[in-house]
Amino acid sequence: MTEPNAAVGDVHIRIRGLTKTYRSKTGAVPSLKPIDLDIAKGEFVAIVGPSGCGKSTLLKLVAGLLPATSGSIRIGGVEVDKPIDDIGIVFQSPVLLPWRSVRDNILLQVQMRGRDTAAYAKAADTLIKTSGLEGFENRYPWELSGGMQQRASICRALVHDPSVLLMDEPFGALDAMTRERMNAELQRIWYETRKTVLLITHSIPEAVYLADRVVVMSSRPGAIEAIYDIDLRRPRELSVMGEPRFVKLTQDIRKHFFAQGDLDH
């Protein structure tokens, strides 16, 4: 048997035969069919799929927030069956604590892990600077725009320097203009930090623009339907979205959704 959905380079996240079945009153509801996926170190992988295809479930499994029904996930050789240190998560909403300043929200990550906050002050400052939050570090989240709140939440996910960044539709609540700007910034941050990124998104252009590979999932129960290698040169300007290769890729990916008969957006 050939290695399924293999990545180029050192495998950092290895998913094998992963399934998830929810128990409900009416019986077992399968959410994920066996999933096999390898993600290389420093690779940016985006997952697109219709609502209810289990892509958020997959992310929570990788994060160790949900127990798998069967199969295994290994990150850097370590079996994930509970949350591990080497991960940072960005949720769809920024989930910032309103009683903490931006800076203290970012440092929450190390505080909750019981580490010495002072040791991470510099890391927090660097992130604040690279993410364009300088001058706002002492503001409260509710004084910030949605895009800036999400930036703070990305900083929080990175401050303890994990090797893996998991993102669950992080820009879904932003307006189209802000979203594009955030995409460009995320690419830059990824370039600077070289994290292994798993991004869940509804937006096909966002996935193609950002990712090295785009995983297309089908729904109920979720399964990997196709994987596209995005061979656009890097770094990518936002103008890449007008290039024929980009358009071709998004069209090819979109066809899966038309075939399935439902498209979210």
Partner: protein, 266 residues
């Protein structure tokens, strides 16, 4: 006209509005009593109440103290027991299913009916008044705190779990601060009800306190004194409520209800 403009500005400021309304009501009351020749044993004129307030001031102040102590004692017990009880209820479905229905049931028992029992059990001292204030003040604290502790975003809890934080750390750093606005809401209701509870306690068996003054005045058809005592009680409730409101502003300036003035002070 500058005078009219400054008067209008005065009327527009928020602090003056309730005072303005009270003045209007007092004038209406006074005019009404005079116009319809209502006898003072039915409704006293506000002037009579004010005169009584001045004449009886030392006595009223003296009698306010036991009521204030009973109120504060009952309120302190409400917070002291109410918040941990709510934490228990919010932390476990099992505890909730045992405890909550009994709490609701106990709340439906009219306190005025059981108050005499406390006199039998605890005598004529301050204890039955404190307990009566506690019984009225306890429930709102529990309900509000349970609501506050349960109103937490699932993502927030996932975030805490992803940071591998233990239950205690999650509670202290996330759940509790998140519940504070709701807890303060409960405390505000609680303190005003504690005043009522203390007076109920004084009604059924006491020889001191504003509740006692009220009963004596009622027995003597001394309506001006009765209204004066009622005024003192209301004033006490307002001041205590304001004190908690002030504490709330200090402790949770980040909450949406305070943001206007908070940003203004920046």
């Amino acid at each position: 006209m500058p005078i009219i403009r400054s008067l209008r500005r005065l009327a527009g400021s928020e602090a003056i509005r309730p005072a303005l309304l009270i003045v209007i009501i007092l004038v209406g009351w006074d005019v009404g009593v005079r116009l319809f020749k209502i006898p003072p044993y039915l409704i006293p004129a506000p002037t009579a109440v004010v005169l009584e307030l001045f004449a009886q001031w030392p006595m009223l102040l003296r009698e306010t103290m036991p009521t204030l102590y009973a109120t504060l004692g009952g309120f302190a017990l409400s917070a002291l027991f109410g918040i941990p009880t709510a934490m228990l209820i919010a932390s476990s479905r099992t505890v909730e299913s045992y405890l909550y229905p009994i709490l609701v049931f106990s709340q439906s028992v009219p306190k005025i009916a059981v108050a005499p029992l406390f006199v039998v059990w605890f005598g004529f001292g301050i204890a039955p008044k404190v307990i009566s204030a506690f019984l009225l003040g306890f429930f709102p604290v529990v309900v509000a705190t349970v609501l506050g502790l349960k109103s937490i975003d699932n993502d927030m809890l996932d975030l805490a779990r992803s940071m591998r934080a233990g239950a205690l750390r999650t509670f202290l750093r996330i759940r509790l601060p998140n519940a504070l606005p709701s807890i303060f809401g409960g405390l505000k209701v609680s303190i005003t009800l504690a005043v009522v509870g203390a007076v109920v306690g004084e009604f059924v068996g006491s020889n001191s306190g504003i509740g006692y003054v009220l009963q004596i005045a009622n027995g003597n058809f001394d309506l001006p004194l009765m209204f004066a005592a009622l005024f003192i009680l209301s004033l006490m409730g307002v001041l205590l409520f304001t004190a908690i409101d002030f504490a709330e502003r200090l402790l949770i300036p980040w909450h949406a209800s305070h943001r206007g003035d908070f940003v203004g002070t920046n």
